[in-house]
Symmetry: C2
Subunit: 164 residues, 2 copies
């Protein structure tokens, strides 16, 4: 079995609030960090958002999530199942059929995730604009630096020709 509890990130609600209510746990392996890591996962968000509609079969999920390999989807579902967010039901038919659906816990998480998606949809234009502006700025700075370098070279050449 692959290790599901590897490194993680870290936000802990230690209530010894020094300068405010929030306090960060410096440890990497803090409980809350591990959970956030799961939420911050590339595919988990998508699976949870999809399963809110209704329960889905493995292949249905696979079809709806473009770019996911069956390996990654399986891993993601196992993680979510382990965390009690998704339930897995095997129908012993032939061919086999496996349904996934959100648990009660998973549903409460979905509300939060939904807010995140809504935020993203609402602000995607602002973000796109910010990116364009940033890229333009970087480009401008680069050409400015290049112009400066060219000038330096020019001066150096003049000095050299003068000393000849």
């Amino acid at each position: 079995m692959e290790d599901g509890t590897s490194k993680s990130l870290g936000y802990c609600g230690d209530t010894d609030g020094d300068y405010d209510v929030l306090q960060w746990d410096t440890r990497e392996d803090c409980e809350v960090r591990q959970i956030l890591d799961r939420v911050a996962d590339k595919w988990s968000l998508l699976v949870i958002a999809l399963l809110d509609q209704r329960s889905l079969r493995f292949s249905e999920l696979r079809r709806r999530i473009d770019g996911v390999s069956q390996r990654m989807l399986t891993r993601t579902l196992r993680h979510l199942e382990r965390d009690g967010l998704v339930s897995r039901t095997v129908h012993p038919t032939v061919p086999p059929r496996v349904d996934y659906e959100l648990t009660a816990l998973g549903t409460t998480l979905h509300a939060t995730i939904r807010a995140l998606v809504t935020w993203t949809e609402t602000h995607q234009n602002e973000i796109a604009a910010a990116r364009t502006a940033y890229d333009a700025r970087v480009l401008a700075e680069q050409s400015a630096a290049e112009a400066q370098a060219a000038e330096r070279d020019e001066i150096a050449r003049n000095v050299l020709s003068g000393s000849r």
Copy 2:
């Protein structure tokens, strides 16, 4: 420059709702997916949560986020800056000093992120319990399978000795 717009995940608000309001874009490189990818980033969440309190210097962030390398912190901050979520202020002093703070856009995102963290804190016990239960179940299934295998071997041995 490293490629910041690599692969992404995918949730798009196509409003041609077939069976509900939500509809997934099948394309991997959908706009909303890219943004979610940024939010789903290991360190971004932490940086945004930290910066909500007040603006922080690079080294302050580094100290407060255990396990982040300066390379990753730099990358994360650049991404966030590009997306217009964080502003970067360089004070031309010596030694140099760089302050980071949330933009207005970043602050709106923080509210959502905060909800996520709160959810995590609220439900961490349930999740821990679910994990323990899951691991126990897996262990039980494993030993059951082993017992079955042992039984099979036993039968096979008996058959063999009988035919002798």
